[in-house]
């Protein structure tokens, strides 16, 4: 029980980080980035590659992988997503990002084979004891990393001028454009940021789970569930739902059976949506768009 709680909060914060990227992208651009899952895996493979071939430590490698993923995000946004417009924009964005996801999945399968790998370091298997439970160091370090990055992100959003223009775009894009915000630029950079966080999320995920390219399906379904539950486009929602859901999953796993723990995820989603169709932190919209 205690173990499940601690583990849930630690792992949940990493999911919250990845989901924040996803919800940011949706909120600003109305794009549902189904490729978020494969970007996480791509981030994990980047860390894996750097460690395997250059002996670069996982955490030090983030200094390379985070900017790399940021650039990947900007390129993808410029090449494909910036072209989408019209009434089916969001639906098309799902398909485009799914197609991108398939291409990356194919490339990763060829480059790294379909065999599962896991990121290992000297500290991945060591644990320390808290409240009588053993916590592996990597979980704790992943948690710290997520907290640092989330704090950075929130600082940027709430304390800088650029962050203010992102939040304005989150609230209302056309209004933001009217007050002179370069929505196009904000969109591109937001997509970059949304993808950049997957480098960190992917590294921690890869160090705590065995993965291959198809693991991305499982990841994306959880991340999407988290942002829908939190309310699509809501930053606070992504944070709270991310931690709550993973904790709940771990609790169900500990109390009932690990087999059904993922199920709890979706059951909660269905129940919450039956009462609050807009999600926990979503704004009630009079208009069904």
């Amino acid at each position: 029980m205690v173990h499940a709680l601690i583990d849930g909060v630690l792992t949940g914060s990493v999911y919250a980080l990845m989901a924040t990227g996803l919800t940011l992208i949706f909120g600003v651009m109305e794009i549902i980035n189904v490729a978020q899952g494969i970007f996480v895996i791509l981030g994990a493979y980047l860390s894996y590659y750097l460690q395997l071939h250059f002996g670069i430590d996982l955490f030090a490698g983030l200094l390379i992988t985070i900017p790399t993923m940021f650039v990947v995000g900007i390129v993808v946004q410029r090449l494909f997503l910036a072209r989408l417009k019209g009434p089916e924009k969001t639906a098309m964005s799902i398909l485009v990002t799914y197609a991108i996801s398939l291409v990356i999945e194919g490339i990763l399968n060829i480059a790294f084979t379909v065999n599962n790998v896991q990121l290992n370091t000297s500290y991945t298997n060591k644990s320390f004891q808290v409240f009588g439970v053993y916590i592996p160091y990597i979980y704790f370090m992943g948690f710290l990393l997520a907290i640092v990055l989330l704090s950075g992100l929130y600082y940027m959003l709430y304390r800088t001028r650029f962050g203010a223009s992102i939040r304005a775009s989150l609230a209302d894009q056309s209004a933001a454009a009217l007050v002179g915000i370069d929505v196009k630029k904000v969109s591109t950079i937001c997509f970059g940021i949304g993808i950049a966080v997957t480098a960190a999320g992917g590294m921690v995920f890869g160090a705590t789970n065995a993965f291959n390219a198809s693991t991305s399906y499982d990841l994306i379904s959880r991340l999407l569930t988290i942002i829908v539950l939190g309310g699509m486009g809501s930053l606070a929602g992504a944070l709270v739902a991310g931690i709550a859901m993973v904790t709940l999953e771990d609790l169900v796993g500990a109390i009932w059976s690990p087999v059904w723990s993922t199920m709890a995820f979706f059951v909660v989603l269905v129940v919450v949506l039956s009462f609050r169709p807009q999600g926990l932190f979503g704004q009630q919209s009079a208009r069904a768009a």
């Binding site: 549902i32 089916e88 969001t90 098309m92 398939l102 999945e105 194919g106 829908v228 199920m263 949506l273």
Partner: protein, 340 residues
């Protein structure tokens, strides 16, 4: 997108339909290789599913990325009944085919509660919820005991010779496709279909003009589950063995959507064309190269190309080109006339 009624063979499109019909009807006669006949069956299964999917998602704009829920429900319903009615490995027979409509009905029954929950939310959220519900179903199929878990279910073996084994399946799949196309055409021409299209364009406005949007959406969603469920049942019979990850396959969900967008989202012909081109080429590539990863890259790449350069799909793209040409001809004729 207006509908004008004209006599059947006055438009070239109808000739193409007729030609395709004849080619499809005679396919098992000129293509006798079982491997290629099977490609024909799969292609038709996807024609039926894509057409049926489009009848709801294409018309209403509510993109359902959980079509595999209906497909898998159909496949499992048929398999479970078949297994229970054939204890001790009794051989199967053509009478199993009567279970296919039942598979479709089961998919419809399952679609009702899903629709009631998923259709309450905004369009974007709907997509995501369908994905989430899909994974829930996959999870149940993997973990429940009545589905046989990851080991799947083995259906009664139908003792037919390999040389003509696929032929009955082929004609059933063809019948299903024709059924789906006719149903989709009827819906498009009904008041109900008009209401779905109105919902696609502006749901709130439609509501303000008396359209009972909730009931209309639910009806469309449940109707589209029927053919997809039947197709799942047929697939199970054809395979003789089903596994959770094959009938509850995320690639199935996305393939159907890709086929419709590729051909023309919300059009009648688009899904047929999209499914025919994409599924047959996929099956062909698999038979020829058996490299799934390469296929993913090609499939994804092709789709990106289509959506970025022909965002409304091939059918609309061709129509627009044809219209531009005829407009130019009319303009040229008018210019010539005014000069004379």
């Amino acid at each position: 997108m207006s509908t004008t009624s004209t006599s059947i063979f006055s438009r070239p499109a109808n000739w193409i339909w007729a030609l395709c019909g004849v080619l499809a009807l005679t396919f098992p006669f000129y293509e006798t290789d079982p491997a290629y006949q099977q490609i024909g069956v799969y292609t038709l299964i996807f024609v039926a599913c894509a057409t049926s999917w489009n009848m709801f998602s294409g018309y209403s704009g509510y993109v359902n990325l959980g079509a595999a829920v209906s497909y898998g429900t159909g496949a499992y319903t048929l398999s479970i009944i078949a297994v229970h009615t054939h204890p001790n490995n009794l051989p199967g027979s053509a009478s199993e085919f009567w279970l296919i409509p039942l598979a479709g009905l089961a998919a419809m029954v399952v679609a009702v509660p899903i629709g009631l929950i998923a259709l309450r939310v905004r369009r974007h959220t709907f997509v995501v919820i369908t994905i989430a519900i899909f994974f829930t179903f996959q999870l149940i199929a993997i973990n429940a005991s009545f589905t046989g878990g990851t080991g799947g279910l083995s259906l009664p073996y139908i003792p037919w010779a390999a040389s003509y084994f696929d032929v009955p399946f082929y004609y059933l799949a063809l019948a299903m496709s024709i059924f789906a196309i006719i149903l989709s055409a009827l819906v498009r021409r009904s008041r109900f279909g008009l209401q779905l299209l109105a919902i696609r364009d502006d749901e709130d406005r439609a509501m303000g003009l008396g359209v009972e949007v909730g009931k209309v959406k639910l009806t469309g969603y449940v109707m589209s589950a029927f053919t997809i469920g039947m197709a799942g049942g047929l697939f199970a019979l054809l395979q003789g063995q089903i596994y959770p990850q094959f009938v509850f396959d995320p690639l199935f969900d996305i393939s159907i959507a890709l086929m419709c967008f590729f051909g023309g989202f919300g059009t009648l012909v688009g899904p047929v064309l999209g499914a025919a081109v994409l599924e047959s080429s996929q099956q062909y590539l698999t038979v020829q190269y058996s490299n799934g990863s390469l296929y993913l890259i090609l499939f994804g790449g092709l789709f990106l190309f289509v959506i970025l350069f022909m965002p409304q799909g091939i059918v609309v793209f061709i129509r627009q080109k044809a219209k531009q040409r005829s407009d130019q001809q009319i303009a040229a004729a008018a210019a010539a006339g005014s000069n004379a």
